[in-house]
Symmetry: none
Amino acid sequence: MREGPDIARIASLVGDPARANMLNALMGGTALTASELALEAGVSLPTASSHLSKLMEGGLLTVASQGRHRYYGLAGPQVAGMIEAITGVAEAVGPKRVRPGPRDGAMRIARVCYDHLAGEQAVAMLDRLVDKNILVRDDKEIRLGPSAASHFAAIGIDVYTKPRRPVCRACLDWSVRRSHLAGTLGAAILDKILAEKWARREKDSRAVIFSPPGKQAFERVFLG
Amino acid sequence: MREGPDIARIASLVGDPARANMLNALMGGTALTASELALEAGVSLPTASSHLSKLMEGGLLTVASQGRHRYYGLAGPQVAGMIEAITGVAEAVGPKRVRPGPRDGAMRIARVCYDHLAGEQAVAMLDRLVDKNILVRDDKEIRLGPSAASHFAAIGIDVYTKPRRPVCRACLDWSVRRSHLAGTLGAAILDKILAEKWARREKDSRAVIFSPPGKQAFERVFLG
DNA sequence: CGCATGGTTCGGCCTCCATCGAAGTATTCT
DNA sequence: AGAATACTTCGATGGAGGCCGAACCATGCG
């Protein structure tokens, strides 16, 4: 009976279906109100409220009160990473749904992971950026390469505007089992993709769907 | 209420304190028996057995039957990664009691594995014995070499007294991931080590701690 | 063969917690 | 101010699951 950080407490928070659905919904990165989360989780409002306060107490969520709305969001990238890790295991051991389904396919290719892009395209992008020495993998960390600032400035992304969070972080991708780019840089790139309308977000889903020209543009800029 | 991989199911497996303790114990990489895990988790053997079958069913554990022991281990690196991610969040959220303890280090170097020696020293010993052709690795089996009988007789071990069990067997060492020596010969060697007081067993632990002169003697006899 | 030991299964107890309806607080709209 | 909306708290209920002792299999030892 060894003691350590209370992993059971955290895991059991995620271990309730209603709460898991809520967290899943919040993985989209946008904060949601209590009512929306109740709907998402398929429970009544009082029940949802109870769950939300438990998640708050557990430190997994943050809340922002705006008027009579309370917007709940994930507490941070670390929490998002944990959810992704659990999802990966569930996917690997889970009873493998017979029909993959078109949405799952789209999710595999590109999806939102908290505030940045995940999926095959995101993994490919990180690979290419490391290949071109714009980013540098250092053991398990990712750092900016010498040409990073100028390269990203050229496409309208300033890598030094948000110094509070690490600029780059690796985030394990559950569908590909390899890392994609997180951190403020990852978030900025997702912003750019959506701002340029290269892709749109599937409604009520984390899937990100590129338009044909948008995909071309993305490949030219990040994979070229 | 969206559908996806059943993350709640996996998380709730980790969400029980007893199971979390077991998984934590298995994070060291060494497979453990049901009894050891029961002790580790602070529950009775039947309770532990129930937890273990749930973890098995959930795909988080693998089991290797060796004789009347069943060694449970984590199902793979992905599971370990998930535990680590959860641990990270738990540590960030709830401070924080950590004592590394000298036991883990000692366990790595030398410990009891059922009735024989395991750990780095045991792996080194088997390597050396094979090197000197006293034992012969044949595929996955280990056989006695030509000089084995005389060599072990010289140090007071008769390799032919207990014919019912295989004299030599390979046993996978979970800390080093290489084989060490099991079978009656392995057991006899551990007996000798303890009888000669070259080492003592740590109380309530599998760790085996050599005294300085004991270690010298061991190295002279088995590694020289 | 019979005994000892590691492990699992079974049955019953008991606690915990998810759930919802109803009532209570806060904020905005008119 | 009064009504409507967003959310939380309270109380009661019911079901799920953790727990252990005892009995039951399996393997190894003499």
